[in-house]
Symmetry: C2
Subunit: 348 residues, 2 copies
C-alpha cells in the first residue's frame, strides 16, 4: 500500500484537476490510498464522480488554500498548520503518508517543505529534480530552481541525490552523471563547476559513474542519465527548452494548416502526428521531485490537466515504491564513511 | 564599400566553405570587398570557381592556421602576428577592414580579438551576442559565452551594447531589454541579476526600454528585443534550445517515415515541410557578434556550410552598414554624461 497525500487546493484549477487526476492514477496503481487535504465542500462534487477513488481516499478538511501568487514568507505565515499545502506535507512528516503531491506555487511549497521536513543530515540545500525527455529516453536534471547559485559541495550533494533518483526511476545500477558546463574541457566554466568536477572525481561515489562535463545540447541528446547544475541555470535551461518545443509545435501546426495540400497531407499522416504529439506530450514529464528533505514532495505543474497531474502522482508512486529516500540515505552514509576513514590514520 | 576580412582557414572545413560562402554573400551585397587571410595554395582552387569574388577580393598569404581544438593561450603564442585568424582581426585594428569574420574556435578568436582590439573605453568585459529566432521574429541574446559570471555592472554594459545592436539590426528606435531570471518578480534570482535590474531602472538609458526580468520561455516567445544574461547561463540556454529543436526535428522525421500513410501525407505536405525547414534553418541565425571591443568581429559556427557562412557575413555587413560601433560609442557617451552631471552638485 502506497499512501499519497494531495494538496487538493493547489494549482490553477484545484480539485477540478486534482481529483480526476488522482482517479486516473488509481486506475494504474490500485494499491494507492489517498489522503486528500482541501476545502471539503469544494472536493465533494468532484469526488462524487469517482466512487473508486472515494473508497480509497480520506478527506481532511482545511480552511486555508495557498494562492498561486503568494510569497513564500506570507504563505508560511498564513498557511502553517492549517493550509491544505502544509497539511499534505505534514502528513509525510508524521508518517501517515509516504509522499506528498502539490500543484501549488513552487516557492511556497519549497518553503513549507523545508520548514516542515527539514533538510536531511549531510545535505546543505535541497534541489528540485525534473525528468527531461531525451533522444534516448529520459534523464534526471537537477537543480531546476530550488538553490540559486549552489556551490561545489552542494553540486556534489545534487549529484549523489540525482544518482539515487535515477536508480529509483530507471532501474539501472550505476547511472552516469554529468556536470552542466559551457564546454567539455577541464579548464572551462566557473569556479564552482570546476571544483565540483574535482570533488566528484575524487569522491568516486558508489551509486553513480561520473562522466565529466556536459553541454546544453547534451540535455536533449541524453548523453548522461543525470545532469547536475545549480538552480539558476537549470531553471532557465529547462524553460528555454520547453519554450523551444512549444514554438516548434506552433510552427508545425501553422505550416500544416496553411494550404489545402498541407491539410490533405495532414489527414494522411494523422497517425504519425498523433504519435509525435504523444512522444512530445509535456504532461508526461510532469512532476518535479524535491530532493534532500526528510520526506518526498512532488511538485506538479500548476497549469496541468488531470492527465498531467496523474503523471506527477505516478512519479510520486515510483519514488516510494523504489525506496528513493532509503537510497539517498545509504549513498550519504557510504560517502561519509568513505570520507571519514582516511581522517584517522592513527587508528590504522 | 564595405570591407570584410575573412579568416579563410577557420572552421571545420576552411576555404572549402569560407570561399563559396563569401561568393554567396557577394551576390547579395555587391558592395563588399573581401580581404582573404589564409594559405594561398589552399585558397586558389576554390577561388578559381568564383571569378566575381576573385575580382572583389585580395588574398593575403598566412602560413599559420589555428586549430579548432587549440587552447586560447597556445593559439595566441603560436598565431600572434602570423595566423590567418590574427591577421583578419588585425585588419580591423589597422583600419584596412571594417569587420572580421571567422569560423575558427571561439576561445582562440575571443582571446586574439581582445588582445588585438582591446575592450572599448567604459566597457569592462566583452560579450558575444547571438540572434535568436522567436515566435515574433528575432531577438538579440547576450552574453552566450564570453564572460562567465558577469557582475551587475557588466550586465548593464551588455544591456547597453545589446540595445545598440538591436537598433542596428532591427531598425527600431528603442528596443525592449529584459534580464534573464528565474521569475518575473523583483525578489527572484541571484544578487547580480537583482542589482543589474536596479541599475538598469535607475540608469534609464536613452537607446533602450528596460522591460524587467524575463524567464527562459520568453526567449522563444520573443517577449523582448534583447535578452541579457551572463555567459554561463546564456551559453547553456542557447545550446539547450538548439538541442531541443534538433531533437524535435528528428522525431518529426522519424514519425513521417514510419508508415506508408505518413509517407503519402508527407508527399502532399511537402511544401509545408519545406517552409517549416526554412523557418527553422539554424544556418539563418548563424553569426555571433563580439561586442565591447574596438572593432567588430563575427564568429560563425565552425561546422556550418557555405549558406550558413554567408549568413554570418550578412550579419557582419549589417553591423557595419548600420554603424554598430558608432551606436555603442554614442550610448556609452550618453550614459556616462548622464552619470557625471549629478556628481557635481556645487556647479549647479
Amino acid at each position: 500500500m502506497i499512501r499519497i497525500s494531495l494538496d487538493v487546493m493547489g494549482g490553477d484549477f484545484g480539485p477540478e484537476v486534482v481529483i480526476p487526476g488522482a482517479a486516473k492514477a488509481l486506475e494504474r496503481h490500485p494499491d494507492i490510498t489517498f489522503l486528500l487535504y482541501g476545502q471539503s465542500d469544494k472536493c465533494e462534487p468532484f469526488l462524487e464522480r469517482f466512487p473508486k477513488l472515494r473508497a480509497n481516499a480520506t478527506v481532511h478538511h482545511c480552511e486555508v488554500a495557498i494562492g498561486m501568487d503568494e510569497k513564500p514568507s506570507q504563505a508560511l505565515r498564513r498557511g502553517r498548520g492549517v493550509s491544505s499545502m502544509w497539511r499534505a506535507i505534514d502528513a509525510v512528516k508524521d508518517g501517515t503518508a509516504d509522499v506528498a503531491v502539490s500543484a501549488g506555487n513552487t516557492g511556497a511549497l519549497m518553503a513549507m517543505a523545508m520548514f516542515c521536513l527539514r533538510t536531511m543530515q549531510g545535505i546543505e540545500r535541497p534541489a528540485i529534480a525534473g525528468i527531461w525527455p531525451t533522444a534516448r529516453g529520459e534523464s534526471v536534471v537537477l537543480d531546476i530552481g530550488a538553490t540559486i547559485g549552489a556551490d561545489a559541495k552542494q553540486l556534489l550533494d545534487f549529484a549523489l541525490m540525482g544518482g539515487a533518483m535515477a536508480r529509483a526511476l530507471f532501474d539501472i545500477d550505476s547511472p552516469t552523471v554529468g556536470l552542466l558546463n559551457v564546454g567539455a574541457e577541464e579548464v572551462k566554466g566557473n569556479e564552482e563547476v570546476k571544483e565540483a568536477g574535482r570533488l566528484l572525481r575524487e569522491a568516486d561515489l558508489d551509486g553513480l559513474t561520473y562522466y565529466g562535463f556536459v553541454e546544453g545540447d547534451d540535455l536533449g541528446k541524453g548523453t548522461v542519465d543525470v545532469v547536475v547544475t545549480e538552480g539558476f541555470t537549470g531553471n532557465i535551461a529547462l524553460k528555454a527548452a520547453e519554450g523551444t518545443a512549444r514554438q516548434m509545435a506552433n510552427f508545425l501546426k501553422m505550416a500544416m494548416s496553411r494550404t489545402l495540400m498541407a491539410k490533405i497531407g495532414y489527414l494522411f499522416a494523422r497517425g504519425a502526428f498523433r504519435m509525435l504529439r504523444e512522444k512530445l506530450d509535456p504532461r508526461k514529464s510532469n512532476g518535479g521531485v524535491f530532493l534532500g528533505l526528510n520526506g518526498i514532495v512532488i511538485k506538479s505543474h500548476g497549469g496541468t490537466d488531470a492527465e498531467g497531474y496523474a503523471a506527477a502522482i505516478d512519479v510520486a508512486y515510483d519514488m516510494v515504491k523504489n525506496g528513493l529516500t532509503k537510497k539517498i540515505e545509504n549513498d550519504l552514509k557510504n560517502y561519509h564513511a568513505g570520507r571519514e576513514s582516511p581522517v584517522g590514520p592513527e587508528t590504522a
